[in-house]
């Protein structure tokens, strides 16, 4: 039986000036799975994520979310789909002028007609899920980086989304907090049976949380597979990335050829 597809991209191309960041990306993410997009810095993985959440428009290609093509949708239609997705940002992106409680409750207040008392209960439940119940009245500036990420996560899941996207969920966190966040991602995806899409280059995290993994390199998907398939990959790029070996097909110095010419110019 074919698995149902939650997110799909078809021939996605994005250029910034002359630089091609995405060069024909085709990805299929199934409902209920935890899908990790990994790749080096600047390989286009955050840009790819931004196309999936429709905050960026592709130059060419299509993005499907929950069966609907979103690249050409009007604002009202797009809003309907956005209410079914959640996003946890790299820098948590909490609204500075609002308390933790207000941040988490904002989508409910804006998109539902729930009574204040109900909203309060939902907020408490979501904060409990991320281990931060009782922090409702603090301002984001009073929280640590890991706590902010967890509040951002509570806000992302407050509308009970079908898909949650994570942009570098463990970057800049100590290993214990990173482990806590990873566990949270696994728990949420299993408990709430959410489709999870994670963009990261933290290899420890990748193998802890992923059902399937895609490796992005120079704007192209070089390999997609399960954890074991990726671990035992024969692809030189994937092997080098997993091992962190400085020598290999992934070039760190991009312009070797004209080095001498540039020196004496």
């Amino acid at each position: 039986m074919d698995k149902e597809i939650a997110v799909k991209t078809e021939g996605l191309v994005k250029k910034f000036d002359t630089m091609t960041v995405l060069d024909g990306v085709d990805i299929e993410i199934y409902k209920g799975e935890t899908f990790v997009i990994m790749g080096g810095s600047g390989c286009g993985k955050s840009t790819l994520l931004r196309h999936m959440i429709s905050t960026m428009k592709p130059d060419r290609g299509k993005v499907f979310l929950l069966g609907k093509e979103i690249t050409g949708l009007g604002e009202d239609e797009l809003d309907k789909i956005k209410k079914k997705i959640g996003m946890s940002f790299q820098g948590s992106a909490l609204f500075d002028s609002m308390t933790v409680g207000e941040n988490v409750s904002l989508p409910l207040r804006e998109h539902t007609k729930l009574a204040d008392s109900v909203i309060e209960i939902v907020v408490k439940m979501k904060l409990e899920l991320v281990g931060l119940r009782g922090f409702e009245n603090l301002m984001p500036s009073q929280l640590s980086g890991g706590m902010k990420k967890r509040v951002g996560l509570a806000r992302a899941i407050v509308m009970d989304p079908e898909i949650v996207f994570y942009d570098e969920p463990t970057s800049g966190l100590d290993p214990i907090v990173a482990g806590v966040i990873d566990k949270l991602i696994i728990d949420l995806s299993k408990k709430l049976s959410i489709t999870t899409v994670v963009v990261t280059h933290d290899m420890g995290s990748v193998f802890r949380i992923a059902d399937r993994i895609a490796m992005l390199y120079e704007g192209k998907v070089v390999e997609v597979g399960t954890k074991d398939e990726i671990k035992n990959s024969k692809n030189g790029i994937v092997k080098q990335f997993i091992s962190g070996n400085p020598d290999g097909p992934i070039r760190f110095f991009k312009q070797k050829d004209d080095y001498l010419e540039q020196l004496i110019k």
Partner: protein
């Protein structure tokens, strides 16, 4: 080089106009869709923009009134018409200096604050977060600031007209020795409704300018903390130039149409 600069300016102007129409769209169509800006956030902005600007507008207008009175007394004394200082102060404040100086003060204080706040939100992904939460940033952030400025700047302008006249009155009565009743009479004899509403109309145009430029610069900020500083400066400079430019155009229109 000049061509490229002209093209980029034209592109920005088009986007600024786009933001303006988008804002007007949300003000008009938003309530019909049940998606209007929150009343609480409009009032919050009105307090920040209006009430908190009262003191600085008061001082600027008060001292400007004093200065106009002294400068015009110096000239009018040679013609033997010192009493017309009253008319000079009231008409100048209402038609020109009230709206323009208030707008410049508010552009420096509020325009900068708007750009810095929205710019910081932009570089820390908060604007994108609003977008993903299906909350339109124009409706959520621009509309309350736009409406608050549209309501409060004309109020501040009328206040500044009155305060300027008080400043002039003090010079007229205590320095020039003019009869206070006569001073007030002459003030209002020469001040007609036209002078007041043209001034208020100017302040409405300035309010739109400050709000849209401040928000546009904020929403387009790039380059981290340095970018926020850069765009805030750019916002104030652009607002200043546009305020003076629109003042010139409007004064021209009023002058040539005998208003």
């Amino acid at each position: 080089m000049i061509g490229a600069y002209a093209i980029s300016t034209a592109q920005h102007a088009k986007k600024v106009l786009g933001l303006f129409f988008d804002t007007v769209y949300w003000i008009i169509v938003g309530p019909a869709k049940g998606k209007f800006a929150k009343r609480a956030s409009i009032f919050e902005q009105m307090v920040f923009i209006g009430v908190r600007s009262v003191i600085i507008v008061f001082f600027v207008a008060f001292f400007t009134g004093i200065v106009i009175a002294m400068q015009s007394a110096y000239q009018l004394a040679q013609l033997g018409g010192t009493i017309y200082v009253a008319a000079m102060v009231s008409v100048t404040m209402a038609r020109e200096l009230g709206p323009v100086l208030t707008a410049l003060v508010v552009a420096g204080r509020i325009g900068a604050a708007i750009t810095a706040e929205l710019g910081t939100m932009k570089v820390s992904e908060q604007i994108e977060a609003l977008d993903v939460l299906a909350l339109n940033p124009v409706r959520f952030l621009v509309v309350p600031r736009f409406l608050a400025l549209l309501i409060m700047l004309p109020c501040l302008t009328v206040m500044s007209d009155l305060v300027g006249m008080v400043g002039g009155f003090l010079v007229g009565v205590y320095n020039l020795g003019l009869n206070p009743y006569r001073y007030i009479d002459v003030s209002f004899e020469f001040l007609v409704w036209r002078d007041i509403w043209t001034g208020v109309l100017k302040s409405v145009v300035f309010a739109i300018t400050i709000a849209i430029i401040g928000c546009y610069m904020g929403l387009n900020t790039t380059g981290g903390a340095e970018g926020v500083g850069k765009y805030t400066t750019l916002s104030v400079v652009t607002s200043f130039i546009l305020i003076v430019l629109f003042d010139c155009i409007l004064t021209g229109v009023f002058y040539f149409s005998n208003m």
